[in-house]
């Protein structure tokens, strides 16, 4: 009897007492949050989001645990070729150069990549990074705005990325003594850089080292940033190097806590001759290109972290649904429901900010940094909650929940630590609102 009354008081039943307009105004459709969010997207965005989710579930999920636990034995190339063939590595431009849907691309250059980045990372943060780091590597070629670089390098490489035989790219800015320094204005002014380009006949000679380069070992081409000999960071210039060039070698591969399928490698440059045609953009434009690439990619990093935490959440939810405690399933307990609700709210809020930060064609430093900080911090909190909710089962690695936690922790560090990103937001808003004298306004 009580159960009957309870059912009558729930909104789907209670709305039957309203007139037709009242019923229409009451939305009780049993949609998931994913489906509700989907309805706010354009057709092209929905298409890529759906395809990416399908790819993640069918192709990434079966290998995710093995790729994390035994990453040295995992060969990512078949998966990368499959992803490329389905168009997932060529969304940085529209047809005929790429496969991004045209109308949404004109509203936001990175929204479609953010959408697929989240979906891939739900199943594996490391494989998600492997796929998305390619975009980071190729982005300078486009964002340089330099027509010769775009026509000579970006167009053929991006078109090649539509085939099952893509040329994988990586992005190399970090140096042994300069991590945050190359992601922040104040740090950059005093950065201790060692990678140097020296002018030679018909080109440049590069020497130095880059570290923590995502996909550094896997990629075939790398966009490398180097200062010009005798000058400082203001002379930073972007060069496109091929791993086959003489003098390029891969050094140490880092042993990471998470995102393990994707290598983080040292790139050693010893008298590497780079032809002048491989200078990306203008000489000394490297610092601006680098900062702008980060401004475009930080929203995507936020989306990826969101995906990692969503994966942890979804696996915890499945556990709570399938596990009984006494007469009830875990999801039937109110205290568990409160925890689940809290996780859903945080994930939803983070997605809202990530999508909002992708709301314009050109990326914006403040919005991108805000999205990166909020989404990655949220991912850390949510994945911690997911592990805690499962108790001892949470730290058994084959359950796949703690992987979200290990993966999400890196997102708070790379592409500028979250402290650096907070300061980037202040830097961007300084003139407009932070240091603005509003007295009497």
């Amino acid at each position: 009897m009580t159960q009957d009354r309870l059912e009558q008081l729930k909104l789907p039943a209670a709305r039957q007492n309203m007139n037709r307009i009242g019923r229409w105004l009451t939305d009780v459709r049993p949609l998931t949050i994913w489906e509700r969010d989907n309805r706010t997207l354009s057709y092209g965005e929905r298409k890529w989001r759906k395809r990416a989710r399908q790819f993640a579930q069918e192709v990434i999920r079966p290998v995710a645990i093995e790729a994390d636990l035994n990453h040295h034995r995992y060969d990512p190339r078949p998966l990368l070729r499959e992803a490329a063939g389905r168009g997932f590595l060529s969304l940085l431009f529209t047809p005929p150069l790429g496969r991004a849907s045209i109308l949404p691309f004109l509203r936001s250059a990175v929204m479609q990549t953010a959408l697929i980045g989240e979906e891939f990372s739900v199943e594996s943060g490391g494989i998600g990074l492997q796929l998305m780091a390619h975009y980071l590597g190729i982005a300078p070629l486009l964002l340089s705005g330099h027509l010769p670089s775009i026509l000579r390098h970006f167009a053929p490489l991006h078109m090649k990325a539509m085939t099952r035989n893509p040329v994988l790219m990586a992005f190399a800015i970090t140096e042994p003594s300069a991590g945050s320094d190359v992601e922040d204005t104040e740090g950059g002014a005093a950065a201790r850089l060692i990678t140097t380009a020296k002018k030679t006949n018909k080109g440049w000679l590069l020497n130095g080292r880059k570290v923590f380069i995502s996909n550094g070992a896997l990629a075939q081409k790398i966009t490398v940033f180097a200062k010009l000999k005798g000058e400082g960071l203001e002379s930073w210039t972007c060069f496109l190097i091929d791993k086959k060039m003489n003098g390029v070698s891969v050094g140490r591969q880092e042993r990471k806590m998470g995102q393990r399928p994707s290598d983080a490698s040292e790139i050693i440059l010893e008298d590497v001759f780079v032809p002048s045609r491989n200078v990306v953009g203008k000489l000394r434009a490297g610092w601006a290109i680098n900062r702008n690439v980060l401004n475009y990619s930080r929203s995507v990093v936020g989306a990826m972290a969101l995906g990692q935490a969503r994966g942890a959440f979804e696996r915890t939810l499945a556990f709570c649904r399938e596990t009984n405690l006494g007469p009830k399933r875990l999801i039937d307990y109110q205290d568990v429901q409160l925890e689940l609700a809290d996780m859903l709210i945080r994930l939803w809020a983070a997605r809202a900010l990530v999508w909002h930060s992708c709301g314009e064609l050109r990326s914006n430093q403040a919005a991108a940094s805000a999205a990166k900080v909020f989404a990655t911090d949220t991912a850390w909190e949510v994945s911690n909650k997911a592990v805690e909710l499962m108790g001892d089962h949470g730290y058994v690695q084959t359950n796949g929940v703690e992987r979200g936690l290990r993966d999400a922790r890196l997102a708070q560090i790379y592409e500028g630590t979250n402290q650096i990103n907070r300061l980037a937001l202040i830097e961007q808003q300084w003139e407009a609102e932070i240091d603005k004298n509003t007295t009497g306004a």
């Binding site: 002014a189 983080a264 805690e388 058994v396 560090i413 630590t417 402290q419």
Partner: protein, 377 residues
């Protein structure tokens, strides 16, 4: 009977522990493996026994030795010092000490045992604590039943931490409406064991799931009596205090490592420990660590081990782990990408803290217990 250690003696014992931690455990952790060379853990255990760090019937001053009223604070400090080098190794010491203390409380002299407490659903709930049969909502699974005049053990245990050289298990079971403890040799027939692998952290200590496939028991296996429930309360308290102390040592070392790094690494032309962003993280971490230290110190003088203390220990574990996890993750953050790499040891501390927080009473479980025991105390 043990004697109360003088302050000087206690200090000497702590110095010995610190020396053991630094000279015997830490070199093993510096090996090429992210969790240290785990094959060396049994040897470390032997050396610890010889050094007097492990409690036994003859050594009352080892970790969780008999005389808790005098020496519980000492055990907590020892665990923290060991955890500064490796939380997983400290966990081995902790669980061996807990079992040793339980055998003392149960008035037996079984040595080298491990505790098998948790059911598949976890630890006892508030309703179980006095009388396992009184809480019908979640039934205790490990039970003794009598068949043809013989006691038969059925059920299973989950996430049993087994220190090296464990010979037997102290199993918490229900007989009719009472708690009983059983002494079960590790190689008993029909005792099915499955190692829990792979795990996020605390990998130095082996973990198993156990299944009791209708094991017939001899009468002398059952260690029942009026002290059975008290022993359970005692063990719960010591477990949460000890794990909190291990977390404390882990966080203390994480902060010290991060500060070392910050004194050597430059960003923006100055040492990173001169940046407000870093100093703020350090200040927060240190505050959290000092807070937990103070909370643990409050247990030095505790002489009662009732449900009131069970509740307070649950509060301590919940909040200590929360604060210490923040301290560790913030310490890691100050090291940037290097903090995330295995070579610097920081990521191991974070993994270990993650396990410490979730194991043997997750925050959700502890909240339930704290609210469930409110009326009882």
């Amino acid at each position: 009977m043990s004697e109360h250690l003088s302050q000087q003696e206690a200090q000497a014992f702590l110095q010995l522990t610190q020396k053991f931690s630094r000279q015997t455990i830490r070199p093993v952790m510096s090996a090429e493996f992210s969790d240290g060379d785990l094959s060396k853990i049994p040897k470390i255990f032997e050396q610890a026994d010889a050094a007097g760090l492990l409690a036994s019937s003859e050594n009352t001053y080892g970790i969780w030795g008999k005389d808790l009223e005098q020496n519980s604070g000492l055990s907590l400090q020892m665990l923290a010092l060991l955890a500064e080098s490796c939380a997983g190794t400290a966990t081995c010491f902790h669980f061996r000490g807990l079992a040793e203390n339980a055998t003392y409380l149960l008035d037996t002299d079984i040595e080298k045992s491990a505790l098998a407490l948790q059911e598949s659903f976890g630890l006892p709930f508030a309703g179980h604590l006095k009388n396992p049969g009184a809480y019908h909502a979640v039934k205790w699974e490990t039970r003794l039943t009598k068949q043809d005049g013989q006691w038969i053990l059925k059920g299973g245990k989950s996430f049993v931490y087994l220190p090296p050289d464990t010979k037997s298990l102290l199993v918490l079971a229900q007989r009719e409406d009472q708690w009983v403890w059983l002494n079960l040799p590790l190689h008993t027939q029909k005792l099915l064991r499955t190692e829990v692998l792979p795990r996020t952290g605390l990998r130095a200590c082996r973990v198993e799931h156990l299944h009791f496939d209708q094991i017939p028991l001899e009468n002398d296996t059952v260690l029942s009596g009026p002290k059975a429930a008290d022993t359970l309360h005692n063990i719960l308290i010591l477990n949460w205090l000890g794990l909190s102390a291990i977390g404390l040592g882990t966080a203390r070392r994480a902060l010290a490592s991060a500060k070392d790094y910050a004194r050597q690494r430059y960003q923006g032309g100055s040492l990173i420990n001169e940046h407000d962003a870093i100093r703020g993280l350090f200040a927060g971490a240190e505050t959290n660590i000092q807070t937990v230290d103070a909370l643990l110190n409050a247990w030095n003088a505790v002489t009662e081990w009732t449900l009131t203390q069970v509740r307070q220990a649950a509060m301590l574990k919940w909040q200590a782990m929360r604060l210490l996890s923040v301290a560790v993750t913030d310490s890691l953050q100050t090291m940037g990408g290097y903090g995330y790499m295995e070579d610097y040891g920081m990521e191991k501390r974070l993994r270990d803290m993650t396990v410490l927080k979730a194991m043997a009473g997750s925050p959700l479980y502890l909240k339930r217990l704290i609210s469930g025991l409110e009326e009882d105390v």
